[in-house]
């Protein structure tokens, strides 16, 4: 895999990453950062999201229930599990995208640096400015590459030079060298993998703190997938990343922590409700999970 840019990613907020050392050397290992310890000992400033007793309903249907987990800063947290287990539903709670689905209702609390995102005083639009999202299917706007990246900064009326913002975002997304000569061309002409990196660049152009990725590689070929995974390791230094994936190898490769979800069949109504089974360091989930269901899933005996 060639690295198109060897310039270090510009870190305006140097305090975010105190070491300043690129831990790219750890690429390929399940757990990149060995310094993580148990939840109780983590200072609360490092916890970005604290999910408490989360239930999500679509109309009468309970999609997922009793989710409790904590997402730490500058880590990659992966959600895995079989289809319909509610992992995407939970992910969409972090930027309140579930609000857009008719009939969706959220119970419990999603604390973002201690602030409940579902407090009635919270403006979901402001939430989404701080928490970016990348979707399963690349969805660039039918505009030029430049206008795609500049879209977010223009919304917030950024005073910064847009050219700089666009270049920086494209460099961070490892796309700059491929598109720098055709910024004014339509983004629809890019390949699927390039489109997805464009979407990542578009998301980071507004400088969010968190990036949510909903199966970002499922529409891509293995080479494009590898590029996105490399990219995620790079972005980890500046952003907190949550990724939903169907691909267990991917979760093992990229994430620091993994949440395994599964479905439970309600004996009375026959409805399937998603549940969080186990949430731990990725290494543990894939080598010595506590729960038998996790073990069955990661070893391929189920799902």
């Amino acid at each position: 895999m060639t690295e198109p840019t060897d310039t270090p990613t510009p870190t305006e907020t140097a305090d975010r990453d105190s070491t300043g050392i690129d831990d790219r050397a750890d690429v390929g290992l399940a757990v990149a950062d060995g310094s993580t310890t148990e939840a109780e000992e983590i200072p609360s400033s490092e916890i970005v999201f604290d999910v408490r007793d989360l239930n999500v309903h679509y109309g009468d249907f309970l999609a997922v229930r009793d989710v409790n987990l904590q997402v730490r800063q500058h880590e990659i947290t992966a959600f895995i599990g079989p289809s319909g287990c509610g992992k995407s539903t939970v992910l969409r709670c972090f930027d309140r995208m579930n609000d857009l689905i008719e009939g969706a209702r959220v119970e419990g609390r999603v604390l973002y640096h201690g602030v409940d995102l579902y407090d009635e005083r919270i403006d979901p639009v402001e939430v989404r400015k701080r928490i970016g999202m990348v979707f399963q299917k690349p969805n660039p706007f039918p505009k030029s590459i430049y206008d795609n990246i500049a879209f977010g900064p223009r919304l917030s009326g950024s005073r910064e030079d847009l050219d700089d913002v666009v270049e920086r975002a494209l460099r961070q997304a490892a796309l700059w060298d491929e598109v720098k000569d055709r910024l004014k061309k339509s983004a629809m002409g890019l390949s699927g993998g390039q489109q997805q990196r464009l979407c990542i660049a578009r998301a980071i152009a507004v400088e969010p703190e968190v990036i949510l990725m909903d199966e970002p590689c499922s529409a891509l070929d293995p080479i494009a997938t590898a590029r996105i995974e490399d990219l995620m390791h790079e972005l980890k230094n500046e952003y907190t990343i949550l990724i939903v994936t169907h691909n267990m190898q991917q979760a093992a490769r990229v994430s620091d922590r993994t949440a395994f979800f599964t479905t439970e069949v309600n004996s009375q109504s026959d409805a399937r409700t998603g549940r969080l089974v186990e949430f731990a360091e990725t290494r543990k989930i894939f080598s010595a999970p506590d729960d038998e269901r996790t073990e069955n899933y990661v070893t391929g005996r189920f799902g």
Partner: protein, 300 residues
């Protein structure tokens, strides 16, 4: 080849079935039928255009575009200036009323109303309105406007606007439906508000299609006669005061002149017909150019 033919089992199966006679005949018949349908469809169209051009082209002198209508229709001379301006003016005023209303209405229907009761009712009414004969629309405007305010260009524009409105609403809504939901999601995920998502993402993505629909509505309205006959009257001179006094339009002039037994008037009707076709033609080309240019900007 000969090996293949001689193979006992597969040879026959693999060969192209052009040798069998009934199949060849059926193929030929189907081709002729389809080509024939095309000719039948194109011939009247070509005849109409050709006839209008042949009969009308002689009228198109410089005077035709500038002079007032003659005082006496049976004599040659004069021009069609007031009717040309009238058609453009009335259509423009109608478009100025119907386009914003129609596009905004469609945005409401698709982006806000959804499957709600109000939206369903409006959609149904728009469908019904599309089917209302244009003369009924003229009669409607006649009773609510012309009877009280007298003949005027604005009355005609009201009637044409009412005709255009449902076409614009329905075609625009269809175009908005074609905008993938993923684009809206992408916009929301960047912290864009709903109204701004519509302005910055949905409308640009559907601009070409909306323009085509709008132009279609304009082209259709520009040729309407019935609603104008009893709302704008038949002025002989140019009248730019749209609220005040009778006006005229090409379609009305065609109607009036073609009914007379006088050769000069009939020639004038042909000239007006050619002019009207030309205007609609130009509008259609314009619509194509605009939507192609926008599409190119988005999908270069």
């Amino acid at each position: 080849m000969s090996d293949l033919l001689q193979h006992p089992d597969t040879g026959d199966l693999l060969l192209r079935d052009t040798t069998r006679r009934s199949r060849r005949v059926r193929n030929r018949l189907a081709t002729i039928w389809m080509a024939g349908s095309l000719v039948v469809a194109v011939v009247p169209l070509a005849l109409v255009v050709g006839y209008v051009v042949a009969k009308g082209i002689g009228q198109l002198t410089p005077d035709w575009f500038t002079k007032d209508l003659p005082a006496v229709t049976r004599r040659a001379g004069g021009g069609m200036g007031p009717a040309i301006v009238g058609t453009l003016l009335i259509t423009a005023v109608a478009a100025a009323m119907a386009i914003p209303l129609g596009v905004l209405g469609a945005i409401y229907l698709h982006e806000y109303g959804g499957r709600g009761r109000v939206a369903r009712l409006i959609r149904f009414m728009a469908d019904v309105m599309t089917g209302v004969p244009s003369i009924v629309m003229g009669l409607f405007v006649y009773t609510i406007w012309t009877i009280n305010r007298g003949l005027s260009a604005f009355g005609g524009a009201l009637a044409l606007g009412c005709l255009m409105l449902p076409i614009i609403i329905r075609s625009t809504e269809e175009m908005l439906r074609l905008v993938p939901d993923e684009l809206r999601q992408a916009s929301y995920a960047l912290g864009n508000r709903k109204w701004r998502t519509i302005v910055t993402v949905v409308l640009p993505a559907s601009f070409g299609g909306i323009t085509s629909g709008v132009m279609l509505a304009i082209a259709r309205a520009a040729g309407e006669t019935a609603p104008l006959v009893f709302t704008i009257g038949a002025a002989r001179k140019l009248n730019l005061r749209i609220f005040d006094g009778p006006s005229t339009a090409l379609s009305v002039q065609i109607f009036g002149n073609a009914q007379t037994p006088f050769e000069a008037a009939q020639a004038r009707a042909w000239g007006a017909a050619l002019t009207l076709v030309a205007i609609v033609f130009v509008l259609t080309i314009l619509a194509r150019v605009i939507s192609a240019r926008v599409a190119r900007r988005h999908n270069a």
